[in-house]
Structure formats: C-alpha cells, structure tokens
C-alpha cells in the first residue's frame, strides 16, 4: 500500500495518474461506500454517489493542496455528494428532507440488501428522525468509530459542538427505540 504523500505525487503526474487513481479507489472504496450508504440507505443510490465522489476526486486532485489529510478531503466530498443527493431527491419530489430520510428508512423493510431484524429497522428509522448534521455525527462516531478530531476535520465543526451533537443524537435515538420497541 502506497503512503499518502507518494500517492498524491503520483496522482498529480499525468503519466502515473491512472495507476495511482486505481490504487486510490482500491484503498478507500469500502470506507467511503459505507459512509455514503449510511446516509442514502439504498445500495444503488450509494453506488451512484460513490462513483460521483471518485469522479470529483479525479477531476480536482490537482487542486488539492494538502491542507487536510487526503482521506478527510475525500470523506468531505463524499459527505457533500450524499447530502446533495438527498436534497435533490427532496426537491424532485417536492417534500422536505426529513420526509425523504423517513421514506428511505421505511423502504428498508423490502430492501434485499438489508439483513437487519426489527430492532435494526427501528434504529435506522430513529436515525432518520435526526437533523442531517446529527445523523452524520452519529454515523461517524457510533458506526465508523472515528475520533472527534477526525470528524471535526471532515465536517469543519468544533469538537465541543460535535460532542453535543452526538449526545443529543444518542438521547433521541434511545427515546425513539424505547417508544417503538414492544
């Protein structure tokens, strides 16, 4: 596995860009996929967003100055692409973003790519009730087990605000599960 600095150099060189980009996809595809999937829920939509993310990375890699880690930068693009996807879907259907989240969580019942039981489904519905930012923080902290400092770099939010967000998210989810789990 090539280290980030070397990979970045290779990505900016026309001769080595293609091979380096292939390796970049290989290294980060799963982490980015699962991050996107938790936001957009459906596999097909996650696949579209993931591909758009990598295309954006490819087109803008020359402009990446290295102010943050490469992974944080890609994670940020993936997050923005996912949010844009949700916003676009809401606009097309002329409904609110929270309604779209709720709709997506409900579709899990008949989704062939979801193997969770009832409580798992309730958890996803609970997450869908959260504001977008809280959903992101919860997913990244709880499922991805990122450190607050890493989340801070991705979301450009202070650690203190993230801790508060995570706390509120957990409390709301807990309440939702207690209310809906018979």
């Amino acid at each position: 596995m090539t280290d980030e600095v070397t990979l970045l150099q290779q990505l900016k060189e026309p001769k080595s860009k293609e091979a380096a980009f292939r390796e970049l996809i290989s290294q980060y595809k799963e982490r980015l996929y699962w991050h996107i999937r938790k936001i957009v829920i459906s596999h097909d939509d996650a696949d579209d967003v993931l591909q758009n993310t990598f295309i954006k990375v490819f087109k803008n890699i020359e402009g990446f100055k290295g102010a943050s880690k490469l992974y944080s930068w890609m994670y940020r693009i993936a997050t923005n692409e996912s949010i844009s996807f949700i916003n676009k879907r809401a606009k097309e259907r002329k409904v609110s973003i929270s309604e779209i989240h709720s709709e997506l969580a409900t579709t899990l019942e008949s989704d062939v790519y979801f193997s969770g039981d009832e409580i798992q489904h309730i958890l996803q519905k609970a997450i869908a009730t959260l504001p977008t930012k809280q959903q992101l923080v919860f997913n990244m902290k709880y499922f991805d087990e990122l450190k607050y400092s890493q989340i801070s770099e991705i979301l450009n939010t202070s650690v203190g605000a993230l801790k508060a967000s995570y706390f509120h998210a957990v409390k709301k989810i807990e309440t939702y599960i207690q209310q809906h789990n018979n």
């Binding site: 293609e18 980009f21 292939r22 996809i25 290989s26 595809k29 799963e30 996929y33 699962w34 999937r37 938790k38 829920i41 596999h43 696949d47 993931l50 591909q51 990598f54 295309i55 490819f58 087109k59 062939v112 790519y113 979801f114 193997s115 969770g116 039981d117 798992q120 958890l123 996803q124 709880y142 499922f143 087990e145 995570y166 706390f167 957990v170 409390k171 989810i173 807990e174 599960i177």
Partner: protein
C-alpha cells in the same frame, strides 16, 4: 497505642480539616453521567448496520469508475494529402459537367422583384406579430394620411372610466395631455 493514634488524628483534623482541596472542572459530575449513558447505549446496541451489497461489488468498482474518467486513446490514422485529393477528382469532374449542362440547357427565369401588392394579408400579419416591438407608432402616424383614419373601421371595446383614470395616472407620457388639448 490506640489512644495515641486517635490523638494524632485529632491533631491533623485541627490543623488541616477534612477538605482534600482537590478541585474538579465545572459540571464534571453531570458530564460523567452523560458519558456513562453514552457508554451504556453503545454497549447495549449492536454496531452493525446490516446493510448488504451485491456479490463482487467491490471487485469491479475500479474498472467501472475508471471507464468514466479515463478517455481511451485511439490510434490516429494518417491519410496522405495526395490520396485525399485523388479520391475526390472523379466527384469534382462530375460536378463540373452537371453545372455546365445546367447553365446551357436550362433557362432560369428572372424572378420578379417583390412588390407590395404581392404580399398577402397572412404574410403581413406574420410580419407584424414578429416585429411588433420594432414598430414606432409615430412613424405609422406619419405614413397614414388623415383620410385613411376616416376609412378605417375601428372597433372600440368598452373601456371603463376607472381603467382610463388608472392609465392616465400611471403613464408619465405628457404627450397624452398635449393631445387632449
């Protein structure tokens, strides 16, 4: 011995009291409860999302993405200029012959230059529809003689007084007032 120890204790208590003087950050104990409730939540609930993916999805991902960003380099075919010209010679010759025959055999009648009378009413209406914004009403007024106005059968719709007042009050064109007097 026991009494000695008790006396020592009393002495210490008299000197320093029971306070350790250790301090804690603000709201420390409230936050401990919060941290603990988060810990309990994470312990109680599974970390698995149970989202599944199609078989071999990640194995083919690189290829499908690269297809969208890397443009395939096709080999450029080089055709010599001589070959290109030679290819076209028979076509050029045929075109010259057809033109020669056409010019000498067929008589092209001169098209009569268009006259105003030849323009149909439909053509005039179409022109007016497309050029309404370019028409200057003063020019129309200059073109038409006074008798023309007498001959035109104007159809007036009933205009309510309130609409006339609104038009006058919102229209800054002083020529309206000049024409009234």
């Amino acid at each position: 011995m026991k009494k000695e120890f008790e006396n020592s204790e009393k002495m210490i208590h008299q000197v320093v009291g029971k306070d350790t003087c250790f301090a804690v950050p603000k709201n420390y104990f409230e936050k401990i409860e919060d941290h603990f409730s988060l810990y309990l939540f994470e312990e109680k609930n599974t970390k698995k999302t149970n989202f599944e993916i199609p078989t071999n999805y990640f194995n083919t991902l690189e290829d499908s993405i690269l297809q969208k960003v890397i443009v395939p380099k096709n080999p450029v075919k080089v055709i010599s200029l001589k070959q290109r010209i030679l290819k076209r010679v028979p076509l050029i010759a045929a075109a010259v012959v057809v033109l020669f025959i056409g010019l000498n055999v067929f008589n092209f009648e001169e098209q009569a230059s268009p006259t105003f009378e030849a323009i149909t009413a439909v053509e005039m209406e179409n022109w007016l529809d497309h050029n309404a914004n370019n028409i200057i009403t003063e020019e129309l007024g200059i073109m038409l003689a006074e008798d023309d106005f007498l001959n035109i059968d104007f159809v007036f719709t009933e205009i309510e007084e309130i609409n006339i007042e609104h038009y006058i009050s919102t229209n800054d064109d002083l020529t309206i007032l000049n024409e009234l007097y």
